[in-house]
């Protein structure tokens, strides 16, 4: 048990799993000799050789498409797409080829592939690096969507992802890489998919969020507490599969809810959370569920991204409204 950052937990998960299972390989741009542009794979090529930790040419579509072929030969690829925005350069390989392989072949060609990719705002990255694309993958079907917010979950969920027989897209919040650190056990453990994490218990309002927005919501809950408002905060952890029961229970507990995420509002995953709640928990909702998200605009230049990303004050304003309603 040691306190470590999320990025160290991610590296440790890969290191341990590659030691345990020699079918596991790692590939992507700059993941090998350099150890990744954020050092997420630091030392892994030295440890496992360039046969198992592969620096690829700069070509996302064949990175993803060849990973699929590699998986068909019995290997278990972990693919790093250097930034989530660049999954758009291989969107057809991810969403049509990899994600549908099991379905198209009636279960005969499952694609056991983990796609790792950093994303998320307020770190002043260049364009296309920060976009929150979870809703696009949730709508596309056939991918499990894993979005850890702590170092502990990152390691446990990454191990679960690598072992999952189906393709998983594993979102790594850039801001959390080094800012987020907590207790992480050495050795093997997994965090199951489809089980949300209750961050804090409360009775007045339920705050639902995941990944990069978790720290913002936690801070808001703190400040609400100081004002005597007791917020129940849950981190969904995986969007596919979604912990529907846990989510419904968490909201029924207070009858009021605010959903917070970094992606744009329209057709974002917050809409799905609300749709599910009003379908399944209609009669226990005492006020409309509110969304605090990015607007329906592209991710902006760094000097204004803090306006774009939900912040604590906006979360609190939404809570006040939900309590007034």
């Amino acid at each position: 048990m040691a306190v470590m950052t999320m990025i160290d937990a991610i590296r440790q998960a890969m290191l341990e799993e590659m030691e345990r299972d020699e079918r596991v390989i790692l590939m992507g741009e700059d993941v090998g000799h350099l150890g990744g542009v954020f050092r997420a794979t630091d030392g892994l090529q030295q440890r496992f050789t360039s046969k198992r930790v592969v620096d690829t040419p700069l070509a996302e579509s064949v990175i993803m498409g060849s990973a699929y072929g590699l998986a068909m030969t019995g290997l278990v690829p972990i693919v790093e797409i250097q930034f989530l925005g660049f999954t758009q350069n291989c969107f057809h390989q991810i969403c049509q080829q990899v994600a549908r392989s099991r379905f198209r072949t009636r279960g005969e060609h499952p694609a056991q592939i983990t796609i790792r990719s950093p994303f998320g705002g307020n770190v002043r990255t260049p364009e296309f690096h920060s976009d929150s694309m979870e809703a696009l993958f949730a709508q596309s079907t056939g991918l499990k969507i894993v979005m850890p917010s702590t170092a502990y979950d990152a390691k446990g969920l990454l191990l679960e992802s690598i072992r999952d027989p189906d393709p998983v897209i594993f979102f790594e919040p850039l801001r959390g890489y080094r800012l987020q650190s907590d207790e992480v056990p050495d050795g093997d453990y997994t965090v199951p998919f489809g089980k949300l994490r209750t961050i804090r218990e409360g009775d007045d309002v339920t705050l639902v969020t995941w990944s990069a927005s978790v720290p913002v919501v936690e801070a808001a809950a703190e400040q609400l507490a100081e004002r005597g408002i007791s917020a129940h905060v849950v981190d969904l952890r995986t969007l596919v599969p979604l912990d529907e029961e846990g989510l419904i229970a968490a909201v029924e507990r207070t009858g009021r809810c605010v959903v917070v995420h970094e992606g744009p509002a329209t057709a974002g995953f917050g809409a799905e959370v609300i749709a599910l709640l009003q379908e399944q928990a209609f009669y226990s909702l005492e006020a409309p569920v509110r969304r605090v998200t990015a607007p329906d605009a592209p991710y902006p230049m760094p000097s204004i991204e803090h306006f774009y990303i939900p912040d604590t004050s906006l979360v609190m304003r939404a809570v006040d409204e939900v309590l007034k309603d």
């Binding site: 390989i25 046969k51 592969v54 690829t56 040419p57 070509a59 579509s61 064949v62 993803m64 498409g65 060849s66 990973a67 699929y68 072929g69 590699l70 998986a71 068909m72 030969t73 019995g74 290997l75 057809h92 390989q93 049509q96 080829q97 099991r102 379905f103 198209r104 072949t105 009636r106 279960g107 005969e108 060609h109 499952p110 079907t141 056939g142 499990k144 027989p165 189906d166 489809g194 596919v240 599969p241 979604l242 912990d243 529907e244 029961e245």
Partner: protein, 360 residues
């Protein structure tokens, strides 16, 4: 270093001469040394006739509304079968586009599944365990990266298998072709990029597809060899593919093969080529028919005659009749099929959706 500023690399004014062993009349060319055995030639001929008969049957069923739209192979039999025969079903992977039915059958994929696939039955998508073929791929060029991964993965694990990717000249304009050939060059993946240049991408002619005089000329840009071959010459296609497979097995990496052939039928049953194919051009290609050519050659060798042609046709037709009988008799899929196989385990959402749909 040079002070001469004229471009060091210039497109060839003329296409290179493709490899050909049998001329259009089925006569062996001087200096040609076919490596294909008589047995292989007869096996190939049967597969070629089978492929054409399979499409003929599919076509009539489609016209009766018993089968969906499909892409026939007629005209490309030598290109498809000759290349397939150069592979070993026990170790090599075939990665098709959608016209390569006899190649997959020869590789162990069942004709029944192909019939079911054409009928739109989900079981037509199944690949039986141990059969080293990928499913047909409708997303053009998307299968090419898969072949690179397959070849590369076998090599990583010390196997000597080779992956053969089939794709059309139209698909070779897609970025996925480029990324794949380039990666294969870098990692020396044992892959054969088998480009079937049938002159058409639906209605789009070869000239609009690329300004390159030869598509095989792209190979050096990836650090791999490129071959131009007469795609209607079974012996030539087999030979250049066998040599490419041998190089790949020996660890020498990938080869790009451009097989020059012609799509004699419509693109699919939904297409009307009379709107765009020049009949004279088609006539010229009809004279190069790959099936007749090998039959003539085998005839001069005393290995073939009209009786055998008839006998083979009858035999193949009967087999195919049986396959489609079986396919039509295949249990119809029920609504539950749409809820299966998205994941190994079912998500709460899918269970909810199934229960509502089927429970009600």
């Amino acid at each position: 270093m040079t002070t001469d500023t004229t471009p060091q690399f210039r497109p060839e004014p003329e296409p290179v001469a493709p490899v050909q062993l049998l001329d259009e009349n089925g006569v062996l060319r001087d200096g040609a040394k076919p490596s294909m055995s008589d047995g292989q030639m007869l096996e190939a001929l049967r597969l070629m006739v089978y492929g054409r008969a399979f499409d003929t049957k599919s076509f009539s069923l489609q016209r009766q509304g018993k089968l969906g739209t499909f892409a026939p192979l007629v005209g490309q039999e030598a290109s498809i079968v000759g290349s397939a025969l150069a592979t070993d079903p026990a170790r090599d992977w075939l990665v098709p586009q959608y016209r390569e039915a006899p190649a997959l059958i020869r590789h162990g994929h069942s004709a029944l599944r192909i019939a079911l696939y054409r009928m739109g039955h989900p079981e037509g998508g199944r690949i039986d365990p141990g059969v080293r073929v990928m499913q047909f791929n409708i997303s053009l060029a998307a299968q090419i990266p898969h072949a690179v991964g397959l070849g590369w993965g076998m090599r990583m694990q010390g196997e000597d298998g080779v992956a053969v990717a089939y794709f059309g000249e139209g698909s070779s304009s897609e970025g996925d072709f480029h990324e794949s050939a380039n990666l294969a060059g870098v990692v020396k993946a044992p892959v054969v990029f088998f480009l079937q240049n049938n002159q058409w991408a639906i209605s789009t002619p070869r000239e609009i597809q690329s300004n390159a005089t030869d598509l095989a000329a792209r190979a050096p840009g990836y650090g791999i060899p490129g071959v131009s071959v007469d795609g209607n010459d079974l012996l030539a296609v087999y030979q250049v593919t066998a040599e490419a497979v041998a190089r790949a097995r020996a660890g020498e990496g990938a080869t790009l093969i451009e097989a020059h052939t012609f799509r004699m039928w419509a693109h699919t049953t939904a297409d009307d080529p009379t709107r765009y194919v020049n009949p004279e051009v088609k006539e010229r290609w009809a004279k190069r028919d790959p099936v007749e050519r090998i039959q003539k050659y085998l005839g001069t060798r005393g290995l073939w005659d009209d009786e055998r042609t008839e006998a083979l046709q009858a035999e193949v037709d009967a087999e195919i009749e049986a396959v489609f009988q079986q396919a039509s008799a295949y249990p119809a899929p029920d609504a539950n099929e749409i809820y299966r196989h998205t994941f190994a385990d079912e998500t709460p959402a899918i269970s909810r959706q199934r229960n509502w749909h089927l429970g009600g």
